[in-house]
């Protein structure tokens, strides 16, 4: 192709010199100009907070500012790790994210396989449309829906419980039930949407395999067990790994909307605690230290899970 010899897109195999770098930068001046607003945006709104994060290692006083406040080292981290709420917060956070993953994933896989197997294509499209919908609704709307189902007065579930002679249960304010409300409502909202990935993986399986199975007289269940499931196993493993990287993300928006004082002991997670301590109690340094702690562990987990995912992906290629 003749275009390739033009200087502006010449491959950079030439020997590197400072002058050449400046020249190629000058050639791209329009591009830098275009990107400048976004880069400045990143500097202010993404790196500004990172700069402010130093107060995790300081005793932040609003009057002294971020720079003027005295350094205290890991004092706030120690306070947090040695505090009585540390174990509760970590337990709640991990229970929520692990339970959402472990219960939600099999349901999503089963739904995807059912959608893939069914002969009624119009029905399938309709089901897909409906189960994707809740993903696009905010947790405030979900809270309204949950009230209509779970409230002790007129909630549908409590009406059913009363019909069968039981006592109505205040699900949203009862410490015995609140965790289930959080886990199951998340599954209700997000499982439909997460079937998209598995459905795409199922559609990518070669039809030859299914035809061969049909010729061999495989039953529907054998077909699912020996073709569909192994076919989407890499995606299942990948999703699980990537979700493990976000294990400390237990769903702030959801819990912020749903929880209340009676269920703090079973519902409070790292993020909600950071909000209350920092914004409501003005413990800026301590709250930032907890946020930093969560961010650092998150970074480590993501790097590890990405590395494992990459290694597994390579293995499955060869």
């Amino acid at each position: 192709m003749t275009v390739k010899i033009l200087p502006s897109i010449a491959p950079s195999t030439e020997k590197f010199t400072f002058k050449k770098l400046l020249r190629s930068m000058w050639r791209q001046r329009w591009l830098y100009f275009l990107m400048a607003p976004t880069l400045i945006y990143f500097l202010v709104f993404k790196y500004g907070p990172l700069w402010n994060a130093q107060i995790a290692f300081k005793d932040f006083k609003p009057l002294l500012g971020v720079m003027g406040s005295p350094w205290v080292g890991f004092k706030h981290f120690e306070t947090f790790i040695n505090s009585f709420y540390f174990a509760d917060l970590m337990t709640n956070t991990i229970i929520f994210s692990v339970a959402k993953l472990l219960l939600g994933l099999p349901i999503a896989v089963i739904c995807a396989i059912a959608l893939h197997e069914t002969w009624f294509l119009r029905f399938r499209t309709f089901v897909q449309t409906m189960i994707y919908l809740p993903h696009f609704l905010s947790w405030v709307i979900m809270f309204g829906v949950l009230l209509v189902i779970l409230s002790p007065g007129n909630g549908l579930l409590n009406a059913i419980i009363e019909r069968f002679g039981g006592e109505p249960i205040p699900f949203l304010t009862s410490p015995d039930h609140f965790r289930w409300v959080v886990i199951l409502s998340d599954i209700w909202k997000e499982t439909g949407w997460s079937t998209i990935l598995y459905l795409a993986a199922l559609l990518a399986i070669s039809p030859d395999l299914y035809e061969a199975a049909a010729v061999d007289g495989a039953t529907p269940l054998q077909r699912i067990w020996y073709i569909s499931l192994p076919g989407i196993l890499p995606v299942i493993v990948l999703v699980t790994l990537l979700r493990m990287g976000h294990i400390l993300e237990a769903g702030f928006n959801q819990i912020f909307v749903l929880y209340s004082v009676p269920v703090y002991s079973v519902g409070d997670i790292l993020d909600t605690w950071v909000y209350r301590q920092g914004v409501l109690q003005f413990q800026f340094s301590l709250a930032t230290a907890v946020g930093f702690f969560k961010g650092a562990i998150g970074l480590g987990l993501i790097l590890i899970s990405n590395r494992i995912a990459k290694r597994l992906a390579q293995q499955s290629i060869y």
Binding site: Q28, P37, Y41, G144, W188, G298
Partner: protein, 292 residues
């Protein structure tokens, strides 16, 4: 797939259909309950609570009249529209150049920019440093406080970048030979070809801003500025109910009906654009992976 209609296969299909119907009911019944609760007339409600079915002749629009008759709800809806449109515009305008720059392979410093962008995606120190930044910039009671911190999503940028990378390089080169600069290439060559990805990413940003309720609670103290989801939350937890709705002993609808009607009003705009969202997310997710 082969459809061999053996007896086993037919039984299996019936099983699948009933399973999918069950899933459908689990999704739909709660919404149905919200609808019935919103439309139930006060006399039926006080007599027998909320029934599962409601005769169509008895549907009452009182709860909707009461909510929309008060100035707060229409204003909050308008605020939500402003936040969503402004937020989506700013987000797209900031995302496109970054994605385009990162997709240009011979841009000096591309790797450095990529690393800096990815780092903010992988490590976040949490809420408080952002809160201090925003309050320090005195953006309280300003919609920019809600729009700017999440304006550029790294994930959306990467999706858009991989779309740009998939566009044939020859197109850009042809324009460059004709003497076009990068701005002209982007405006006249790239963007017209990128309608599907722009709409997809724009819709994702719009859904995000429409649903946002935590940062408005955090940064807006002025009741007149609140968006719809925050108003709905305040109504649902019955905090300062009378500021938003005329509700007293003479109210012609129950508290439950008013809450359910609020949920429906907040949901309707999303239901209206949902068909478009659905069209574009299927396209968009495919488009991200397709090269040329």
């Amino acid at each position: 797939m082969l459809h061999t209609k053996t007896r086993d296969a037919v039984i299996f299909q019936i099983g699948l259909a009933s399973f999918l119907t069950l899933i459908l009911l689990i999704i739909l019944v709660p919404f149905w309950r919200v609808i019935v609760t919103a439309f139930i007339p006060l006399d039926i409600y006080t007599r027998e609570g909320v029934p599962f079915f409601l005769s169509p002749t008895r549907w009452s629009f009182e709860a909707f009249k009461q909510l929309l008759g008060h100035s707060m709800f229409p204003r909050a809806a308008w605020n939500s529209v402003v936040i969503t449109l402004l937020g989506t515009a700013i987000s797209v305008i900031l995302t496109v150049p970054l994605a385009y720059g990162l997709s240009t392979r011979n841009l000096p410093g591309r790797k450095l920019i990529m690393t800096l962008v990815l780092f903010t995606y992988l490590f976040s120190p949490g809420l408080i440093p952002v809160y201090l930044l925003i309050t320090g910039m005195e953006l309280t009671n300003n919609y920019l406080a809600i729009i700017l911190p999440p304006a550029v999503s790294v994930y959306n940028t990467l999706v858009m970048m991989s779309f740009f990378e998939g566009l044939p390089e020859e197109l850009k080169d042809a324009a460059r030979i004709d003497g076009a600069n990068e701005l002209q290439v982007l405006l006249h060559i790239i963007l017209p070809l990128s309608r599907p990805i722009l709409l997809t990413i724009g819709l994702f940003y719009a859904v995000f801003f429409w649903n946002e309720f935590f940062t408005p609670i955090l940064y807006l103290n002025d009741n007149d500025l609140l968006p719809l989801p925050v108003l709905l939350r305040n109504i649902l937890i019955s905090a300062s109910f009378n500021e938003y709705v005329e509700y007293d002993a003479f109210s012609s609808s129950s508290l439950e009906s008013l809450k359910a009607a609020g949920v429906l009003i907040t949901m309707i705009p999303m239901l209206l654009i949902y068909p478009w969202i659905q069209r574009y997310f299927t396209k968009g997710t495919l488009v991200g992976g397709v090269k040329e």
